[in-house]
Symmetry: D2
Subunit: 382 residues, 4 copies
């Protein structure tokens, strides 16, 4: 009895594959919803669509079928064998709903054409399955930082530029956001890419009366940082430096070792820390590609702080996580919360979803506990 | 223009010496109030007594004068040389306000006699300096666990037993609490010792219309735990084990290496973790005496947790702090907040002060962010 | 073309199962000998028996068949699926060579009877397969500390006591050692249990002209300690404290959480550290049972040291290992080296094998690099 | 009764100041020689000059007098107050032996002129104090990587180029090395700068019949690496990645945060690791400037390794040290060992001193234990 679509941009990536596998496994009752915030008892009263309500489709520029990708994640230890066996055929079925993604290097014609095609894919999906709503979530690879252009200022200027054949006025994430909005769908950005964060697109969302959320899912080091930083500030302890190193394997490590791609990720992380601590602090941060770690992500942070009478103290932590396993349930949560917001008529940014993001849109609140309080208050009001 | 007394039980210990040194240094404007929660801008509107309002006295069974103790802490790196020089004579002056503490081993007569003498010391101090209020804070060494006795149930039974010469019906911390209440003073327990936590004494506080707070200052590992644990629960991540090791030097290490004394401290820490995580979890915990660490305290925690699809992940942290430097400003904060509560007519436990304690009296709230929110709400209402 | 027997005491435990699985996999050429010291190029010239030379049997008090045990280890992530599939039938075949172990609780009659039965099992195994030599390696669970008795002083006194029905003069590990020697087999103790370390048994080994080695395989925290400690001593840096915590899951965690069993393990670890640092040092050490860790073993060590001008510095490390995967290849190495020593006519303790042990028999050398040099020199001389 | 000169290039830097302070304190018997390798009992039989034999001078481009620099290090916690008081006047006296260093930016004329002046300074120092030998040790700041030039190939070509006014054919460290050799002095490079490592200068040393040693003192992360790496290789464990992060305060952090200067340091560290592990391995390495750490240096390393049956395991360590306190005693050790080598007629590189260096000259041996064995063997042969 599905009536809501979840359309994933980057539908064959690690995060999407894990999310889809998990959703099918939840439906098949072969796993518990560990890591799913929306499944906490305190949200049981909120008007959230259940796991059975969702039908999945998406875009991807990659060809490797979803079940093959899931097989690799099973070998890498992210998906248990028994779960993979239980959902293997379901994955093949979902894979048939994935359409080719947009990438400037392989596209001829205007970005307007590209966006129209993407929007049509979503529209066809909705029509084919008689869906009442479709939530679009971007979980594709992090893009290099895209330059700010004057055409981003207004929808009119943007659409004029998009109509010029061969002109690349938007990065792929923003083309996807544009297409989603044009197709009448809320857009959620789980990556630090530009996505919807352009005045022209924000205007379009307002015009279309659609909600949106983002950006950059908070799954590891930043999750811990947004938890710990308020400890120092509420205890009046002065943080003097906060150094961090991230070791990433998998495709993410490869993408982010490229300094251009890492740019947006590092900026996103840095903004949060300064905001949490109430000002700039020495905070060197590195992302290293360490392929042998596979799907694992290891972060080491060293915080040097000062207390009473100038006492010099420190806190260091090491986080060892599986990025896809941390991100996937949040993607499902975001689909549920955003669908509910859309159904309730919310328009514009959804600051109540800041709990999920490194660089939340529509709020300056980075403290995890306060974000959770805001989420629960909002969910109760739905 | 002092008009409030701060009476410290254990006034010549590390924590008290650091707190007194800091208070004198704050008054002399030679340090900033780093680590003082009550000095955060958000409390500037609250009706809190300022640093100049306090006059200090106390009990201690130790003889080493306050300025000598401060000199040792200066050599140990806890107090900067320039601060010590600035307050040295002030410390001598405070030392003259310290009276012999009570200890069963050196006391003959009844505990009622002892309590009367302690209460008289506080009363004399108040009279001598024309103080409007005196707040009593216990910062003495952690006691061994004291057995529960039927006489603790009612004030009448307790006082009858206290009157029997040679009978030890209360541990020293509770004798101090009794004396404070009899002297008309609010009582704050910064240690995990029994203190005021007996029905008979809680009745006495109610009868005397006095507020009280405790227990066991949250200064290190537990501070971090109460910050991090909600991250797991709000993210629906299942904590499977949380192991901890504490390395302590100084007198604290020596006291707590004695398994009997450690009993109350470990119990206090364990209660918090179970409450934070919503149930029991494998949580081995050790306190080791490592004299070469001096005033430093090092804690290592390893948290093993489970995420989506059963993914096994971990977080470990190492905390390196100076216990006295962390505790001392909180003692001053508690004096300010408790004096304000007393002045405002509060009676009974002060759950709004849970932010400061490992094992808060009057509330089951252990989450640091929620405790801080409760503190700020309450302070604004004063 | 097997001609050497490897007889494992505790043949159905984790370490044995992993070692047997690995040996079968090495023979089947489905794995590389990673972790096998004897397979290093520098030992290619030594006269060591190859993987194909060994036939395996053993004793165990547990009933769970070897292939079932291996299946559990496969689920726990210690044995890869493809390896398990490749050796499954071989494991069943080895399981048929396992005979019931000895345990006082289930044995009636004298320990002499028990030892005779154990020796006969080994003898039958050798005869059945026409083996030239059999090396006995104890990899059973760590025993509680066994009291020292006067009867341990001489072989005559010991055998007289063993002949008394119902008398328990030896722990099981020593009964196994006695049986091995009586069967004409070298004995290697991979555990901290008493084993061969009794004057009476050492005399028996000498009389039987047999070599022996032990004790307590060095696989984790102690391996790192024996590597790092010489760094401090050769750099003239003074170690002031060395604290350690071990988190163990699996059966090992359960056994060692029992303080009596941990006694022998902790003593074994402590002896090494004092020897490495040239004297006693504050060195609290804990072993905690953390079942959720499964086969994983996590150790945290904190070393506080002093340098020039009294500078206070520290080194801390966290080791995350799979105990069985670390121990198993060493068991195979010890079988090869000990068989070669036996063939070469060595009698008595084999100090050259100290490289493998926490508490080496026959030498006070605990430094890993020096142990390795001794091993290579000795191996070349074989 | 001084008869040996110790001439420090960078004589007013942190390392030199700490070394000089320490030497004076050792002579005054106010400290123990903790951290001094040459003071270990096992070198008591070697023909090493004692602490009283040395007279100190040096070059520096900085003006801040030695006693002022020592005062800053005292405030930073590197030098104890009582030690500073004991040697303060001695420091002033040494400061009068420091001559202006050479820097291209402030020098007009040829590098030959500069070198002549530097050599004359050393010669005057030796004559003034009737010294039999002078050992020159470079402890100045790390230089940017200097390009390789054809003129470095032969002494003749080099001297021709040095004679050209305004031409910078050598970095300052190499000008110092040249001057030292011309003055008849052994040269030791404690930094990763080019120094003596040019064919032309090595020829000069041979021609002058002088020994030399270097380079880059091994004091922290690399010390631990050269200790731990052999553990993996001798246990046949495969290191898959070895990531490192260094947090540095003080002048060193500032210098090395400049990517050009860090170049030589990172290259030096990387060479050692590849050599230790027998091949290239993924090994990202960072040096961050974290000013609030002051003289402290913190390194975090994460080693991912593979064991039997492909088991994935890890070791991570955090090193917290005071760089100057670690380096200073080694500078004194190198003065003693090099003076002894010179007295014994050694010519050319001194590979036996590899124990002290990250990037040893004259040997490919990076394993700490083997380096120590080589040092002791060599010292006994002196």
């Amino acid at each position: 009895m599905s009536s809501i679509g979840l359309w994933l941009v980057g539908a064959r990536g690690s995060v999407a594959t894990t999310a889809i596998t998990g959703l099918l496994a939840l439906r098949a009752r072969v796993i518990e919803p560990t890591g799913c915030v929306s499944a906490l008892p305190r949200f049981s009263g909120a008007a959230l669509p259940d796991w059975d309500s969702f039908r999945i489709g998406g875009h991807d520029i990659a060809d490797l079928a979803l079940d093959k990708r899931a097989e690799l994640l099973t070998e890498a230890g992210v998906i248990p064998h028994r779960v993979f066996e239980a959902v293997r055929s379901g994955l093949s079925s979902v894979d048939s709903e994935i359409r080719p993604g947009y990438h400037p290097a392989t596209h001829s014609g205007s970005q307007a054409d590209a966006a129209r095609r993407l929007a049509d894919d979503i529209g066809d999906f909705a029509a084919r399955h008689e869906l009442e709503q479709v939530v679009v979530v971007n979980v594709s690879s992090t893009e290099p930082v895209f330059p700010s252009l004057p055409e981003h200022a207004t929808l009119k200027a943007l659409e004029a530029a998009m109509a010029v054949p061969g002109r690349t006025v938007l990065p792929p994430s923003s083309v996807s956001a544009y297409a989603a909005l044009r197709a009448g769908c809320p857009f959620v950005d789980f990556t630090p890419s530009t996505g919807i964060r352009l005045p022209a697109l924000e205007d379009l969302a307002a015009g279309q009366k659609l909600p949106y959320a983002g950006s950059d899912g908070k799954t590891g080091e930043t999750l811990v940082r947004s938890t710990l930083a308020p400890m120092f500030t509420t205890r009046a302890l002065t943080v003097r430096s906060w150094a961090g190193t991230n070791l990433l394997g998998g495709g993410d490590g490869l993408t982010l070792a490229d300094a251009e791609h890492a740019g947006s990720k590092l900026a996103s992380k840095g903004r949060g820390l300064a905001s949490l601590l109430g000002g700039e602090v020495t905070a060197p941060l590195h992302i290293d590609n360490v392929p042998d770690l596979g799907e694992q992500k290891i972060a080491w942070d060293h915080v040097s702080f000062e207390g009473f009478l100038g006492a010099r103290m420190s806190l260091q932590f090491t986080w060892t996580g599986y990025d896809s396993a941390l991100a996937a349930p949040l993607v499902l949560d975001l689909a549920r919360f955003t669908a509910a917001a859309h159904a309730a008529g919310s328009v514009g940014p959804l600051p109540a979803l800041a709990f999920f993001f490194k660089d939340p849109i529509g709020t300056a609140e980075h403290r995890l506990a306060e974000q959770f309080a805001a989420l629960t208050d909002w969910a109760e009001s739905l």
